[in-house]
Assembly symmetry: C2
Homo-oligomer: 760 residues x 2
């Protein structure tokens, strides 16, 4: 079913033959980035075959006019999209008048490699041109982790079969399109462009919101390691600048074009200084040279891997899978800027517009907490704090009052971008994930200062929303929640979705609990918050308590399970395994009403609830619910399998756990869903991390202590990883029979393995 | 709240001053048509103000590319739209070099009148031109009821204040746009065009489906009643032809331009003969002359009114309202061609694309049965019979099998055009209305031959759909229907909508009953049908019985009502009267989720069910349900109030009945919903007829006999109308204290008034 063409290697993603039909997928897989910008693995030289040209800058987005079939009140008028930005990698080659283009030349040899240990993309190839000459190249490219604006390319090449007249044209091109533009509009307009024999610069502005970006390059041409001057002709036009270098290439000589690019946006710098800044940074990088930048890059990645690596001994595919996931997560978000977040496709494609979803809070946070540390995790939380006023506005638009906050389903700047009523207005559980992330952060770091500083305000807004969203049912004499869509998006507009009701109830209780904590620990902060939020503590807290005491939670006593939603057992009960293979995935084969009526589950929200609130339920309850819901789950969300790994491992259903693990960890590498050409599933990669560390490693934080209950797939000899936990860094090595825990730095700490305390 | 600017008159719609801001609404209200084509009341001369130019031909449509926000499997790729077609009315006037344009000239006098008795649109006006001259005109226009392709205009005018150089330019223009085009495309491409001093002709083709239309005109210029020749200059370009007639107009003379147009489409004629046919028909009309055509028109309408008029003595507004409704219905559909049907806006606008909805079967059929007779009504049924194969295909697309048929929500040629999942896939009660129409027709005409000839095949397809759409609930031990939208579109994707479940159960039972009737009366027809439908009678009939015996129908014993859907009483219960006026209509002020969660009802589908199946319920049951659902109904569907009139009158709630009656009968005349500029609510006009005849007249057909239980608003002296019933035509006159029933023609018949038999 899925697509295996990559070489299995523990540290590298390798493609060792030329597969034009897979190239667009490889462009996604071999993407590079540094948390501030990203670049798909497009070729530097011209390529006329199937390709998705993509270069993205964090924070620089465009409010594309929404496309709607039937308008409903409350729909947003635009969808904020991460922008396809300047093509800074472009180098055109002309050999004896023939443009180098791998779609046209005869490819004799091709090797592409993403070295995850170094953070560098390599490519070697050899082609035969129609003139009979051969052209051989070795290309190295990276985006600097240390220097957020810098990308560097070294393009080495030689001509075989005779001397040749070569034109090498490094260029900058802002005349790019977003493939997902709703009305085929171009989003950039040019401001200025210049080029000379060693540099070029182009500046452009977005047609809306007036983001400005200046890209500057410098380049060097070398023959056998020595710089030389070619005949140079520079030219520029709107949004474009190039320098055409012409020379006679001698057979036997090795030529190199080194290209250093600096891309500065008004998201980070004042507009008046953009051009100068970009020029200076490009000059600085050029001065330093390719080798020095590369060395810096490698050492930066070495340091990052020391913090975040996971070693799986005994399963090279699983090893490659988990490293690929960690690598891409690290490239996507580094946590240095609280205005940035993690788009479902990161910087690897345009689908989902690069915007923020609840994925961040529900799936990504634990990875960044354990691997990147407290400041990074805190910035993810502050991102939502900063959006609180917009979340309050958003709730007002839907008729809520009194500071109730509804965070958007999809957002760039805090405003809602999505427009399907069953999602935009009804998939409101996202609000709960944002509260849960505050709880999760506080539990993990044991740091309650965040609550007084930022957390409580957010929690009050969210609790107010839920308190208004429940309504009293005279018929049931309980509070019900009507018309919601749970994380299982294969049900729309249902009543009393268990997950949403449970989470909402918990949110209100947690907000009240935090209120009391802040009251006790930081009364002056409380006064500030109460006054800002106009919070009438007595009345509101009482009202909250009245609600949470009487929330309706659907269940079936006979089966001993909670019910995904009221009426779930009215459905025809079938098992996913009984679905004919040609009807899967059902979202590509069934009409929407048929999916909605069926019992099949895209991702099991009951189990998501059991995952979040594990301690509220006995293992027996988990088992009954898992055994009921798992067989009905078709996992057509990339976020689905990871939770099943964690729970299957806990229940010692190791075959199921491993099956689910492969599905999540190699989702993109093996292209399970046949969509890798659109970009990578970045946020679900954090789910993979969860499935290893919490699933097989059995890691939990309880009462301020780390617990491990390792349960590994049988053929895994051991599983090793590092954990930043509070003020310590721990090296964990687990196997089914043994464990070794070391403290690498920090304060003394106690860790429990299978319930047994180890003091470090 | 609503907008009253028309003069109340029993036979005429009159606007007696110039209201440019209301002109686009008047263009709708004063529309004329003949069931084959229609024309909005656009001006003949140029008009640069706000206007919706509209000329529509029955059956000539365009598959416009669908606009969708988020695509779902099963959505159609196009939306069939009635096409804005050739502008045949155009006559440009230039007086001393100044173009006549009521948006620019000073309007001294303006009178527009739709004479419903005659079927003619009149307009008189006088304007002062910038030159100081006055221009005075009297225009008469009609579309011939007798000659389906013919429209005629007599434009009389005079110049005051001096002689003037006048250019009169009759033209034909196919370069028209649909204002509702999804991607601003033009739908016509030109084929040919010619013009000379007395005629013009333009032929064009639709860019998809290759409909061809040829329009031919002839025109005559008269001075004081005598034809004369002006200086003529003809010209044409793609999709356009004109003849410019120039002459010196003398003050004191009356000039007339008579323009006769014939419009022939390939929907009715072979393409090879279109030009000749149009030319011949235009010549024939010209030969006959304006006066003779007008006389023919008046006598045709006299005959139609004799069949269909309703006289309300004592209430001029109500009188005008009901006549307006009857007039527009008659103009929209004459029942001569079973390929045509009734679009929600008829030929008066573009909204809803001129396509067919369930409105036809649920609301329009009774009017045409009683007023237009059996053949016309039968053609409405045959329309759906002819679409049966497409309905089966449509069901297959959604996963149904074995000849199950799902009729589309919106259609032109039998294919589904709508694309909102909650409507397209879920508002399936429409299927039941189509079965109900067969029952209603048979009950009314007492003619069961239709069942063997056409009806049973349709009923089998529909019953099969419902039998598959119900599913067995283990939990309830009953058959349930999940995920539907009822006629109350303010609930989406609900479980066990009472109306849909009840109707579906009835459909299956009725199909089985008809099967047995045909088996008994026409065994050879049955064999043909069984073989064509591959109907396994024993197994399927048994299965149907098994289902209908165990259909779940939600109800509340304590309140003694049926439940709109399962869980309805979990909602917060509020009354429509308690809604703040500034929040109404809620569909313009509330977000969609808020509407869905609320108890407010767009149109009460429980009451629709009680209307269809009145005999199944006691008056006490009706009262309890009416008293529960009516106060929750916001009537934001134009199809809502009529049913409430019928039921309120039956329950002797005469104030409510009259309030609802005004709302339905003068919906467009008084522009209750502020949308008359988009066109008229044609199908709801049939609801108005229902509300008079069945509501105040209390007419029912029971056991093959006509019953009347008149209950009139107090200030109505009497209500009179004619009814075609089986082989008799009856003249009915009813008041609260008296009645007078006459047989005008046909066989002896018994009629019951207040339960008392009258033999005629």
């Amino acid at each position: 079913m899925h697509n295996k063409y990559l070489v299995t290697d523990e540290w590298r993603i390798i493609e060792n033959r030329w597969n034009p039909e897979l190239h667009q997928g490889s462009e996604s897989l071999f993407s590079i980035g540094n948390g501030f910008m990203g670049q798909r693995a497009n070729f530097e030289e011209d390529y006329s075959g199937q390709s998705l040209q993509g270069s993205y800058l964090g924070g620089v987005y465009y409010p594309d006019k929404t496309r709607v079939g039937w308008w409903k009140n409350g729909y947003p008028e635009y969808f904020a999209k991460v922008l396809n930005s300047v093509n800074w990698i472009g180098i055109r080659f002309e050999i004896n008048g023939e443009i180098l283009d791998l779609a046209k030349a005869k490819v004799l040899d091709f090797h592409r490699e993403l070295n995850m240990q170094e953070g560098v993309l390599y490519r070697n190839f050899k082609v035969e041109l129609s003139s009979g000459l051969s052209f051989k190249a070795e290309v190295s490219r990276f985006i600097s982790m240390q220097r957020k604006e810098i990308g560097a390319i070294q393009y080495s090449f030689q001509v075989e079969g005779g001397d040749a007249e070569v034109k090498v044209t490094p260029y900058l091109d802002f005349d790019v399109v977003n493939h997902d533009s709703n009305y085929d509009e171009k989003f950039w307009e040019g401001i200025s462009q210049t080029a000379d024999e060693t540099s070029s610069q182009v500046k452009a502005r977005t047609r809306k919101l007036d983001f400005e970006v200046s890209a500057a390059t410098q380049f060097k041409l070398l023959e056998n390691g020595t710089a030389f001057s070619a005949n140079s002709e520079s030219s520029s036009r709107d949004k474009y600048a190039e320098s055409c270098l012409t020379f006679k290439a001698h057979e036997g000589s090795i030529y190199q074009l080194q290209k250093f690019a600096a891309i500065c946006s008004s998201f980070h710098f004042g507009k008046e200084m953009l051009d100068q800044k970009a020029k200076d940074l490009a000059a600085e990088a050029t001065e330093l040279g390719f080798e020095a930048l590369l060395k810096e890059q490698k050492s930066d990645w070495t340091r990052r891997w020391e913090q975040s690596d996971i070693i799986i001994d005994g399963d090279a595919e699983a090893q490659q899978g988990i490293r690929f996931n960690i690598f891409q997560l690290t490239q996507t978000y580094t946590g240095e800027d609280a205005r940035l977040n993690i788009g479902p496709k990161g910087f690897t494609g345009e689908k989902y517009g690069g915007s923020t979803y609840w994925d961040t809070e529900a799936y990504c946070l634990p990875f960044y907490m354990a691997s990147a540390g407290k400041e990074v995790a805190r910035n993810l939380l502050v991102y939502r704090y900063n959006h609180l006023p917009k979340a309050i506005e958003n709730a007002e638009k839907l008729g809520f009052t009194n500071g109730a906050a509804l965070y958007p389903m999809v957002t760039m700047n805090g405003e809602e971008c999505h427009n399907e009523w069953e999602i935009t207005f009804e998939e409101i559980h996202r609000n709960g994930a944002i509260a849960y992330a505050i709880f999760n952060y506080t539990r993990y770091f044991g740091d309650e200062t965040y609550l007084a500083e930022y957390g409580l305000e957010v929690l009050i807004g969210i609790a107010r929303f839920w308190a208004q969203r429940f309504n009293w049912s005279e018929a049931k004499q309980q509070y019900v929640m009507l018309g919601v869509t749970g994380p299982n998006e294969y049900e729309n507009n249902v009543n009393n979705n268990w997950y949403t009701n449970y989470l909402a109830k918990w949110c209100i209780e947690y907000a009240a609990e935090v209120y009391k904590k802040v009251e006790a620990n930081d009364p002056s902060a409380l006064e500030r918050i109460k006054s800002k939020a106009n919070f009438n503590s007595t009345a509101e807290l009482e009202h909250w308590q009245e609600i949470t005491a009487k929330v309706y939670l659907p269940s079936d006593a006979e089966k001993g399970i909670v019910l995904q939603q009221e009426g779930f057992l009215d459905k025809e009960q079938r098992m996913a395994d009984d679905l004919p293979i040609e009807e899967r995935p059902i979202n590509q084969h069934w009409s929407w009403d048929r999916i909605l009526r069926s019992c099949f589950i895209k991702q099991a929200d009951v189990l998501q609830g059991f995952y979040f609130f594990e301690d509220h339920f006995s293992e027996e309850e988990l088992r009954r619910n898992f055994e009921f819901y798992e067989p009905r789950t078709v996992h057509e969300s990339s976020l689905s399998p990871c939770v099943h790994v964690v729970q299957a491992a806990k229940l010692n259903m190791m075959d199921k756990a491993y099956e689910m693990y492969l599905r999540t960890s190699r989702l993109d590498l093996d292209d399970y869903n046949r969509e890798v050409h659109e970009g990578l599933h970045i946020t679900s990669m954090a789910g993979t991390w969860l499935s290893v560390v919490e699933g097989f490693g059995g890691m939990r934080v309880k009462n301020g202590q780390l617990h491990f209950n390792p349960r590994l797939p049988e053929h895994w000899h051991s599983l090793s990883f590092k954990i930043n936990f509070r003020n310590s860094v721990l090296q964990i090595e687990l196997s089914n029979s043994n464990h070794k825990i070391e403290k690498l730095s920090g304060e003394p700490v106690e860790v429990l393995v299978h319930g047994e305390t180890i003091s470090l």
